[in-house]
Amino acid sequence: MKYIIHIALIFLSLGAFAQSDKLYDFDFEQSKLTDVLKSVHLKHNLNFSYNVSETNKIKVSFTRKSCSVETFLETVFEKSKLTFKKVGTTYVITSNIQGEPVLNGHVSGIISDAKTGERLPFATIAEAHSSMGTLSNKDGYFVINKFVPDTSTLVVSYLGFKPVKIKKSDLTFDKLINIQLEPDVEVLDEVFIESSSSKTMELMEVSKFSLNPNKVNALPSLGEKDLMRAIQYFPGISATDETSAGMVIRGASSDQNLIMFDGFTLYHVDHFYGIFSAFNSEAVKSVNISKGGFEPKVGGRVSGVIDIIGKSGSDKKTSLAINGNLLSANFLLETPLSDKLTFLFAGRRAYTDIIQSSLFTELFNKVVVSTAKNGLFDDAVSETLEPSFYYYDINSKVTYKPNKNNVVSISYYTGEDKLSFQGIQGFEAFDYKTSENTNWGNDGISLKWGRYWNDKVYSNVTTAYSQYGSSINYSYEFKLIEELGGDKFEYLGSQINKVQDWSLKMDNEIYLTGNSQLDIGLSYNKNLIDLESTFDDNLYQEYHERGSLLSFYAQHKVQPTEKLTMTYGARLNKYDKVDTLFLEPRLNVGYKVSEGINTKFSAGMFSQTINRAIRGEIYSSTPDFWVLADGKQIPIISSYHLIGGATFTKKEYTLDIEGYYKHNDGILEYVPRLTNFEPGNIVSPELYFQGVNESYGVDVLLHRQKGIHTGWISYSYLKSFNQFDELNKGIAFPSPQDQRHEVNVINLFKVKRFDLSVSWVFGSGKAYTEPYSEYTVTLLDGTKKKEVILGQINSSRLPVYHRLDLSAVYNFNIGKAKANFGLTIFNAYNRENIKYRKISRVDFNKNTYYLLESPLYLTSDVTLLGFTPNITFGIRL
């Protein structure tokens, strides 16, 4: 039944797309065109945009039944200088004179939030009735150099804000202007995402979209507003992992994505083993996602880019927000310290160490215990585990705007998870006790200076530091019963893992004539990685490596014609651990075929010098670690992308289709074989296999942007293969990320004070390696050793994944404060989805715990979250 409902939802949405143009009756005799347009608007609810001084000059005589608006306008304008164009639902009437662009100065300005003074990055500044336009930069700054005479209104828009229209006559040329946008909080038909369907230059770029953090609340979640989980609902980004940080973009492992917060790079972006993302959405102003083919300005990773810009804090008034749910609470304070200085502080903490709700127990058992069972006795001990777990994060930002020309900000982030548990279990002959203390988290700080030098040049200098660290201390203790002597055997182990990232960047935007922009910049990045693990005070593994990357880029954005936009350029890298320079040329092209139809193409080369090694075991869940390329054992990943697609817009619907091909050379598979058992450097040649990954697929997004019922349906098709000369006889096999089909159906409703959402996620089975046979060999002492024969690597598939999530949020006022109360249900029909299929070895009799003569091998499914409700509340003063 549930399938039928969802298929119906899909086709209902598709059906709405297929409405045909209507016919009308017209009857006018020597009437002023202005009056005619008003009359048609009132009678048929059609929208027109026109210059009254032009339309007043024209008299209209037109009588016809069952006639389309287009035919009517074409006939009326036949002998006039006017023409028309349909933009969205509006017929825009303009003069037919296609003169040369008027280069009578330029318009530059800063776009900001009228209520808080926050500068708005990547806002759209477009000329009405034409395809000319641009985006503001990260500091809200923009320049438009080229105007066409009769299209003289600027439309400035930004997600979640009311668009502003400014007539050319009201603009101040050759002077920095301030444009303030009002938040669009009361409007029902808010746009949740801004897809790449817009007519402006930047938004025609391939594989790029931005997300409105304020609207994430409307989506089902596990309680926390979760930006990363929201991103996963879009095509090309897998949502079936259930960890909000498992950001698999177009078949690439998550370490191939660059995730930046206010200019510093984050290496670990989740809390609670991936259940929640590390970002407090209250502190986030803008999220921009690129799924591939990104511009030369960005480098260091080969798959996707998630660029998060934190809020600066209001410069108008102090505001306070508090949100909570059954697991955690968060707090936001933003305040002006002076008319030039703003301050923001946001904190979030889980109280799971104080109150262990049933929700926490469910999550803990699913996420921690089931995946960590690895020891001989853990099945028994897991029932006695006494966990203490919590996470926190803090965002703080100070922004100083001494004048219009300068903006300086310091942004700081710290976040950590702390888990400790111990368990004890008595057996017939001994007691077994285990304990573990684990901490992991990120710190990051950036100092950024944005400088408006003059109307042609804008610069940004950013220096940043970030650190990801984890430490594990664990112990196992066996204590014989008193009758056997009561002796105690204790084993201690630890692992410390630290990745540091220093960077210095300078970005310059040079605004040339004719809506052409040259970006040039330089960046220096240094990574320091330290890993040490010990067992019983012996150094077991270690890795200490440093590497720095110097990059220079230049890119030219140009709009040679009204229909064509282009960004081309290159990035040149020098990595100190190899001798050669490597050049990465890139190209992005957008072409507007006709009103509502845009095509796009992208090609480019990318590289990555830092790599996360993942153990190839299927028997345990050991921590991953980062390694630096050395050009030998650890290669530099080099990649190229080819992407093409089209966007179709009609009324409130947008259909976006993209096909892509990605080729990655130098991917790494870490295999801890023999040397795993002896102390030594973790980078031994025999531990790594180098290979190639190829991924290709299609992403489809059908998006309804306006109305009481909004949402989208996304479909992703993906094939992703790895090939290693030394594995699988050199034959390519599906990569662990290979998932052929994924469908997301997201429905958002605004009913009076309620925000309701229903989302359904479907994914075809993920690839895994299936054991199919077993045998025993006899060792020298007569012990029977059991071996497993595995099938072709990743040639089997897990069962399909699907789940339904629901959420309802009630919005109300308490005095002047805005409040909300909500209920979210994750996996509403309690589907038992499988995370992975595990092989366990059983050495002891389950009931007696006596040693078996020969161990048994069993497969078991580690399942994902079942039915999980949560309650949320929030208040903003």
């Binding site: 056997l484 009561g486 030394e726 054991p771 077993e774 045998y775 007569g782 595995l790 099938g791």
Partner: protein
């Protein structure tokens, strides 16, 4: 727009159906073959793998054609009717000599399994720090230690086994937590000594400590005891599974008696 949607829908439906390869169970031929320097060839076992999870014993293969090639000469082994799946060479012209290479060929039905190994040079001059070990079964902690040392100038991996000299010796311990069916076996290592406590000894009477120099194929197989990784090749055989390896040994005897 309608056309675009129809094309997209058709595309989705067309690619949605794909053949899925399902791993089928096929019996693999399992070879468990050890050669010991300067000893007869008799530890050769051939059987078949079983379906994963069935946890039943391998089915012995008694009618395979098994041969060892040494010095370009082929020696045909015979099935031992007393032990299922066991093959041995009954003559003395097949010598197992340290440093020499040996090839095993097993032909059974349509399968032909081959493997190669080289006999390691082995430990020399094995000595013990004591001839007799006294054991107090009432004690709760080990009370006696014995040091065994040998020369390992070739830096071979070695593994150590302690076994009783004969089959009818008395088992020392009365518990269910040690495997009385197996002797004491050490983890392979590159060291040239081993310290034993009285708790490591399982039988009263004369015991033999044997140091085996082992090849990497044995060490790899042994170490996989604690993990399964997707990529390690857990056999040195072609077209089959299991192991074909060789050992050189040195041994020393010591006596185990109860503490009075």
């Amino acid at each position: 727009m309608k056309t675009v949607l129809i094309i997209c829908s058709l595309f989705v439906f067309l690619i949605a159906c794909e053949d899925q390869k399902k791993e089928k169970f096929e019996e693999e031929l399992v070879v468990n073959a050890y050669l010991f320097a300067n000893s007869p060839v008799n530890w050769i076992y051939i059987n078949k793998s079983v379906k994963f999870g069935s946890n039943i014993a391998n089915e012995p293969v008694n009618n395979a054609k098994v041969s060892i090639t040494w010095n370009k000469e082929v020696f045909l082994l015979e099935n031992n009717p007393l032990i299922p799946g066991n093959y041995k060479y009954n003559f003395e012209d097949l010598k197992i000599i340290p440093g020499d290479e040996y090839v095993i060929d097993v032909v059974y039905e349509d399968k032909n399994v081959t493997g190669t190994t080289t006999v390691p040079y082995g430990p020399k001059n094995l000595v013990s720090s004591a001839d007799t070990i006294k054991i107090d079964v009432q004690r709760n902690s080990p009370s006696n230690q014995v040091l065994f040392q040998w020369d390992n100038s070739d830096f071979d991996y070695s593994t150590v086994v302690i076994r009783p000299e004969s089959e009818n010796q008395n088992y020392i311990w009365d518990d269910k937590f040690t495997n009385s069916n197996a002797y004491w076996l050490s983890i392979p290592s590159l060291s040239n000594y081993r310290v034993f406590t009285d708790f490591d000894i399982k039988y009263y009477g004369t015991n033999v400590l044997v140091v085996y120099s082992a090849n990497l194929e044995y060490v790899n197989m042994f170490n996989e005891f604690d993990q399964i990784d997707l990529f390690s090749k857990n056999t040195n055989l072609e077209n089959g599974v299991g192991i074909f390896t060789a050992f050189s040994t040195d041994s020393v005897q010591f006596f185990v008696a109860p503490q009075k």
